[in-house]
Symmetry: none
Amino acid sequence: MAKPRSGEKRTKIFRTALRLFAQNGYSKTTIKDIAAESNVSFGTVFTYFENKEELFHLCVTEPIEEFRHHLLETSGILEYFSIDKLKEMINEHVAYFLEKEDYLRVIQYVIGQPERFSKMMEELDLFSDEFMSFVQNVVKTGMEKGVLPESNPEEVGYGYLAFLMGARLTFTDYPGVQLTNALEKQAYRLFGIGI
Amino acid sequence: MAKPRSGEKRTKIFRTALRLFAQNGYSKTTIKDIAAESNVSFGTVFTYFENKEELFHLCVTEPIEEFRHHLLETSGILEYFSIDKLKEMINEHVAYFLEKEDYLRVIQYVIGQPERFSKMMEELDLFSDEFMSFVQNVVKTGMEKGVLPESNPEEVGYGYLAFLMGARLTFTDYPGVQLTNALEKQAYRLFGIGI
Amino acid sequence: MAKPRSGEKRTKIFRTALRLFAQNGYSKTTIKDIAAESNVSFGTVFTYFENKEELFHLCVTEPIEEFRHHLLETSGILEYFSIDKLKEMINEHVAYFLEKEDYLRVIQYVIGQPERFSKMMEELDLFSDEFMSFVQNVVKTGMEKGVLPESNPEEVGYGYLAFLMGARLTFTDYPGVQLTNALEKQAYRLFGIGI
Amino acid sequence: MAKPRSGEKRTKIFRTALRLFAQNGYSKTTIKDIAAESNVSFGTVFTYFENKEELFHLCVTEPIEEFRHHLLETSGILEYFSIDKLKEMINEHVAYFLEKEDYLRVIQYVIGQPERFSKMMEELDLFSDEFMSFVQNVVKTGMEKGVLPESNPEEVGYGYLAFLMGARLTFTDYPGVQLTNALEKQAYRLFGIGI
DNA sequence: GATGAATGAGGGTTCATTCAT
DNA sequence: TATGAATGAACCCTCATTCAT
């Protein structure tokens, strides 16, 4: 029996699961907990999701699409490049990474155990390749326009992704604005601007 | 009953545990697995470690000291500051972060679930504060010497730590040299140099 | 709420249930499976049958009547006894036991766990008593007519029933005709004929 | 970790399991029940057996060897054939089939669901072939010695096995001696003797 | 009548921990 | 010190049954 792919309860369960997986990891999170915090009964979780692994898998992969939209479709920067547009893009990236706390924690949990979650890693790798290649295009465009200093686009891609991931990983407790500013300014530097 | 704090078997078990915790996380790693891969019997693990939690706690906290040595006692940069010394320091940091794969995975596993591992988080936060304040001193010194451009030392600290953590988290498969170079050069930029 | 005792869907469900119970036993057979293989929805099964136990009970007891007809009303052998009529009866019995595979599997499943299915066992015992007493009458009649050799009718009854049940239980894969012949000839011997 | 293949507790658990599987079938029998009736804790069952399926498998296959001994090594009947020896063999077979109630119930449970337990069926089929070919040899020998009437050995084999299985299946409540006698005498008839 | 989402009791199984040897 | 059998809490999952639509 195919599982329903939508529905109010499914959404509730999904979000709860995402939060709990983010908080406690895969093994520590129990279906019982997910059910309780979703205000549904134990069995209902299995009405919407095949099993725990499938639920986790979906928590990891379903949001990728939305992620892609937010991170890659940034205000036509490739068509009309400018420092301001770049900064705007970076600001959005930083904000988005800091905002999507739960999802990124889950992602990092998976990335931290690539052998264990190899199936999901493949899908995440695809996205990370996509993201890096987008960043590389931005850098190339910026250089062609003579707006960005000489850089190795690949290196900027590596560094920028690492930086965003690390930012999300490392800072939990710090208040928002100050940290956000700090991270934005540091991110500019990775692109060779704002010094 | 106090547990032995040294011994060949203890070391073997400890290292195996660190590796397995890094690979599979806390819950998925079983004492049985640790014992088997350490070539000791099941019960022997409990001869050296109170219980699983204690073993994990030690895996997280024991190596901090060595970490401190490597990362903070870097060739008297504070006394004789120079761009070369700074680059040298950064190179060492990058190399060390990439080298200590297992340990850093474990750290990131803990950081990613701060409520769950709040006790260890405290100790890790102490070290991270220490590291950031060291970096801030480096930046301040560099600025005073007129060698580094105008920067907010705190921001550089944030960004640099995030970057190092993210680098370790994000890249597993890539070959060493090229990635190392890329990361080094991007790290320079965070300090406002290297372009 | 009284359940409908007839209807096309009821028949479909009933037959599917009988087949699945025969194939996999009571516990392994699920209502979901029965519904799916009957091409009805899940809940529909409960429209026609109180619950799983009731359905199983009916699978065991409903066909008894037809069984009785086929096995006990055999061509007036008690009125006009002859060796040929006896052989004819035996042939019919053997054929019927081999034909009613599903039902007899279910019967044997129940008989094999008499404590577990004590309620059904009572009904089955009634029929088995009836059958044995019929066979005893046949033997007595045959002896009175001087056509059957001296036998203990009860013993023949025991043996004959055991033989028929065992035949059905033991041989699944063997092709029909040869086995049927073999079993017929062996059954004759139990009555002291055909040697 | 390989499971212990002997030990007092293992024997206790094994026998309890055999009894409960015989009484209630595979699915209805719970590990909890087996543990309780064996006076061991729940987990101990898993110390000796991989899982429920494995335990069941062993219940079905381990006793085959002893079965073979008892049923096939019958007093050199093939070397020194005589009616008395044959009757002796039959008596032993009947007695053994009636005695090994639990084991044969389990066997019949498996045979009754051959698709479900196909793996075990293979092993059981091997034994049943062996048994039938032994019986065929007995019949051939008896015919050669001129002691048994003209028979189709294969047919006798079929019939005899069916009869023994059916006897075990069909009669549970009846007292021993009378039934035993009846079955023995009927079994003689299958070999064409004893009238 | 027909449906299938919701429920939760009960099953198999894992595994940290204890402890007698 | 070293071992591994014994334990049982807690997990995931199945499935009969109910009931609103």
